[in-house]
């Protein structure tokens, strides 16, 4: 029972990271109708930026800001270099281009930094606290805390601010939005920046828990995508619930079933959902529109 509680905590912590990346997926999907397969690499690149900045002697908070600014810049470049030129084409070329970008990003970092995984210290000096039978790791607490704050921020931003409403209008009907004087290309640019920063934040938060490696991007992206399907594609709440559930399932699976196949559980859950409930928990749209 104690072990189960401990696993639940860890699972939610790791699930929160999947949820953040999944949120990035969903935002770009809603704005552009395209799944960005390089979303996971945003996390990986941000973690490396953070390692570089810390090694360069910047204080942790300054390195954090530098890394996130770097991600915003990457969001701009990504939009202009990968998405924007293909925006009038069907989804397939765009998907392939984002896959190309993902390969490019991962292997550029590999070429520059080499295959050796890097280590990033956590934000806090104290490693964690013992509450009853459960040991609460401080980094996991931070991840969960930040995720809660971001979910609230996200809700406020999209529902209560004018910019958020413009973004929503753009994602729902680009033609109408542009007739109302909203600059669609600016809105899409903002979405890419926001998603890149969100993905970057997830990468920086999870880096002290995992190693900072080239593979972390694709691993996280895979889980986050599974999370969006489990939650219901295109649904913000679904992405978060899906991410958290997947983190928990995976942690329990690794503890009770098999460690080497830990990364396989996400796939099995994904296939099960695709077969039995493709619309996910929250039942969003399934196929592309006619």
């Amino acid at each position: 029972m104690d072990l189960a509680l401990q696993l639940l905590f860890t699972g939610i912590g790791i699930g929160a990271v999947y949820a953040l990346v999944a949120l990035g997926f969903v935002l770009i999907f809603r704005a552009t109708n395209v799944v960005n397969f390089a979303q996971g690499e945003f996390s990986m690149v941000a973690a490396y930026l953070m390692v570089v900045a810390v090694e360069a002697g910047l204080p942790y908070w300054a390195a954090f800001i530098v890394a996130l600014l770097g991600m915003a810049l990457l969001g701009v470049i990504f939009n202009l270099g990968v998405y924007y030129p293909l925006r009038h084409r069907t989804y397939l070329p765009v998907i392939i281009a984002t896959i190309g970008a993902s390969i490019l990003l991962a292997n550029s970092v590999l070429a520059i930094y080499g295959p050796q995984p890097q280590v990033l210290e956590g934000w806090f000096e104290t490693p964690g606290i013992q509450v009853g039978p459960v040991y609460l790791d401080s980094q996991y607490l931070l991840i969960i805390g930040v995720t809660i704050c971001l979910v609230i921020f996200n809700f406020w931003f999209f529902e209560k601010t004018l910019l958020g409403k413009k973004l929503q209008a753009t994602s729902q009907d680009k033609e109408m939005a542009s007739l109302l004087g909203i600059s669609v290309s600016t809105m899409i640019m903002i979405t890419f920046i926001y998603s890149a920063v969100l993905g970057g934040l997830a990468g920086i938060l999870v880096a002290p828990v995992l190693f900072v490696s080239i593979q972390m991007g694709s691993t996280i992206a895979l889980k986050a995508f599974a999370a969006t399907i489990i939650g219901g594609f295109g649904d913000v709440a679904g992405a978060i619930i899906g991410g958290l559930s997947l983190g928990v399932i995976e942690t329990f699976g690794a503890a009770y079933i098999s460690v080497p196949y830990k990364d396989g559980f996400a796939f099995l859950v994904l296939i099960a959902f695709l077969i039995f409930r493709p619309q996910g928990i929250f039942g969003e749209r399934v196929a592309e529109k006619a």
Binding site: V34, L86, I96, A97, A111, S218, L270, I271, V286, E288
Partner: protein, 592 residues
């Protein structure tokens, strides 16, 4: 578009005078020469290995040209299917001591089944699902190869893999692989012009239109995906026999990306392109070996290549060449003359071709169509009209099966089609066109119409490809576009594209033709021509249900009119009486 000679039978010369195998003879002679060269020329070990790699990889990339090029579905796990085939031969011929041939076939079957399973679970959904699921599958296969040491010997890999008795020497084995490449290449090349291949291309270009033209979209996608997996497995088995050693890193996600890049670079739609892309991407890294000294660098360049190819050369090297060739050929090659089109709509049911009773379609609380009855009499032109938002197009979409009816019954010529999928309704005799034209854009006019002619249960077309082409030519000639049959859709005007869509429906010899706002977007001359065309269609006894705003067209062409407003039927009867009906006048002009 009105061609005076339409109803004058012109003797149709044989469209393809020589049998297929004779016309393709040069290919087989070329292939035989290649096999002979591979069997007799002396290569050093290095060149031999490169040739063997290029040959086996090409077969795997052929798979991608089927699934991605022909059918427009993505597969990011081709290296995993390749690996399944390779490990089947690897483990089979060493640990299990089974014959090479049994292992090769077994590996193909395992890949085929894995592909079919993945396809069945995912292909009903949008394309990004397939991309992610194939990536996941790739990761799982790699995980199993590394961790299931009892089966795969783990990261060390499987050495000393055996070859068949017949091809023990590396020279003869290479010749065998080249022969396999030639056979598979021929099949993939020819596939595009078969019924299945046309269905795949139709699905790639426009799933919705493919469905209403009688193609089972889901099944077609599964066939394409399973075939791709099968070719991956075959290629992997040949690879394992050739190099006698397999290990997990040869079948990683990175290799899947390499396969994808090969396919995109050469030209995704054709096996020739696949072979060119594969050859280039095996040779270029050999020339630029220094790139491999920095880990990641050459894959990073592949990633960049993918982005650039997609942006600047979406059809690849071969696509670029072939496109120029097609345009040139369409100019010089006059399509064959055709006989007059015969329409013989089936007459199984009674006087009423289409009987709709109590049809409703609700979207949540919105009653878009609410308890509508329509009875379409055989042999006439029946119009369904109504102001914007009256539920006309929803009705049409329910009739053709794009929406499921909330309640009510649809009977077409005695068959209850209420719960049928779009392609089944087409098979039952329904033909339709779309308000916003849905043609298969990468095909010629003739190919588009051939897909219509291929409707299951079309009694007006004989056996074989020639009969199909003949029927399609007749339909195109009927709408006045026979002389431009070999041109690509993109070179036709909007009005002509609409005519091609009508020809596509006519070629299928439907029992009932649904026309969704055929006059929309046409200028006044084109409208007159359309009216003439409708008359000529009706003269052959084909029943037409037309939906349009254009009152002149409707009142002149239709004998019977049903009027909808707010999802309900407000009038029904003989044209002139209906148009004078006070409810209809007030619905259109507003009441005083």
């Amino acid at each position: 578009m009105s061609a005076p000679s339409d109803n004058m039978p012109i003797p149709a010369p044989g469209i393809h005078s020589k049998p297929l195998l004779v016309r393709h003879l040069p290919y087989f002679i070329g292939a035989a020469i290649l096999v002979w060269l591979a069997a007799t020329m002396r290569f050093d070990g290095y060149v031999h290995n490169i040739l063997l790699q290029a040959t086996t990889f090409s077969i795997a990339v052929f798979g991608l040209s089927v699934v991605l090029g022909l059918c427009g579905q993505i597969n990011l796990a081709q290296a995993a299917f390749f690996g399944l085939g390779a490990y089947a031969v690897g483990i089979g011929t060493t640990d299990l001591q089974v014959s090479f041939w049994v292992c090769l076939v077994g590996g193909c079957l395992i890949s085929l089944l894995a592909g079919a399973f993945l396809g069945m679970s995912t292909l009903r959904l949008g394309g990004h699902y397939l991309a992610m699921v194939t990536i996941s599958f790739q990761q799982i296969v790699t995980l199993v190869m590394i961790n299931a040491i009892w089966l795969t010997r783990g990261p060390d890999g499987v050495p000393n893999i055996k070859r068949p008795e017949l091809f023990q020497s590396s020279q003869s084995y290479l010749a065998f692989c080249v022969a396999m490449l030639a056979i598979v290449g021929y099949l993939v090349w020819h596939l595009a012009d078969t019924k299945l291949g046309r269905a795949m291309r139709a699905v790639r270009d426009n799933e919705l239109a493919a469905g209403v033209n009688g193609i089972d979209v889901f099944r077609t996608k599964i066939y394409a995906f399973a075939l791709c997996a099968l070719l991956g497995g075959l290629a992997g088995g040949l690879f394992a026999g050739g190099f006698a050693y397999v290990s997990p890193d040869q079948f990683s996600f990175a290799e899947s990306i390499v396969f994808l890049t090969m396919s995109l670079l050469g030209g995704v739609a054709s096996p020739i392109g696949s072979a060119i892309g594969t050859g280039l991407l095996i040779l270029i890294p050999e020339w630029l070996r220094f790139l491999k000294s920095v880990p990641g660098l050459y894959l990073a360049i592949y990633g960049l290549f993918v982005i650039l190819i997609i942006r600047f050369m979406p059809d690849g090297i071969w696509g670029f060449v072939a496109d120029a060739f097609t345009r040139w050929r369409a100019k010089i090659k006059a399509p064959p003359a055709a006989a007059a089109l015969q329409l013989k709509p089936a007459t199984i049911g009674g006087d009423t071709v289409l009987e709709v009773t109590g049809l409703s379609k609700h979207f949540g609380g919105l009653k878009a169509v609410d308890g509508v009855d329509i009875a379409v009499k055989r042999g006439g032109v029946h119009a369904l009209i109504g102001p914007n938002g009256s539920g006309k197009t929803t009705t049409l979409n329910v009739l053709s099966g794009l929406y499921e009816a909330t309640s009510g019954r649809i009977v077409l010529d005695g068959t209850d089609i209420t719960h049928m999928a779009p392609h089944q309704r087409t098979a039952a005799g329904l033909g339709r066109t779309f308000q916003n034209i849905r043609l298969f854009r990468s095909m010629t006019a003739l190919e588009n119409v051939e897909i219509g002619a291929e409707r299951p249960g079309n009694t007006m077309v004989g056996k074989g490809d020639d009969a199909l082409t003949e029927r399609a030519m007749e339909a195109l000639t009927f709408v006045g576009l026979g002389s431009r049959a070999n041109e690509l859709i993109s070179s036709f005007s909007y009005g002509h594209q609409r005519l091609i869509e009508i020809a596509r429906a006519l070629a299928s010899n439907p029992t009932l033709l649904l026309l969704d706002e055929p006059a929309a977007g046409l200028n006044s001359t084109e409208k007159l021509e359309l009216h003439e065309l409708l008359k000529r269609i009706a003269a052959q006894g084909l029943t037409i249900l037309i939906i349009d705003h254009d009152m002149t067209l409707v009142s002149e062409a239709a004998q019977h009119i049903t009027v909808l407003n707010f999802g309900r039927r407000i009038a029904d009867g003989e044209s002139m009486a209906v148009l004078r009906h006070p409810d209809v006048v007030s619905a259109y002009l507003g009441s005083e």
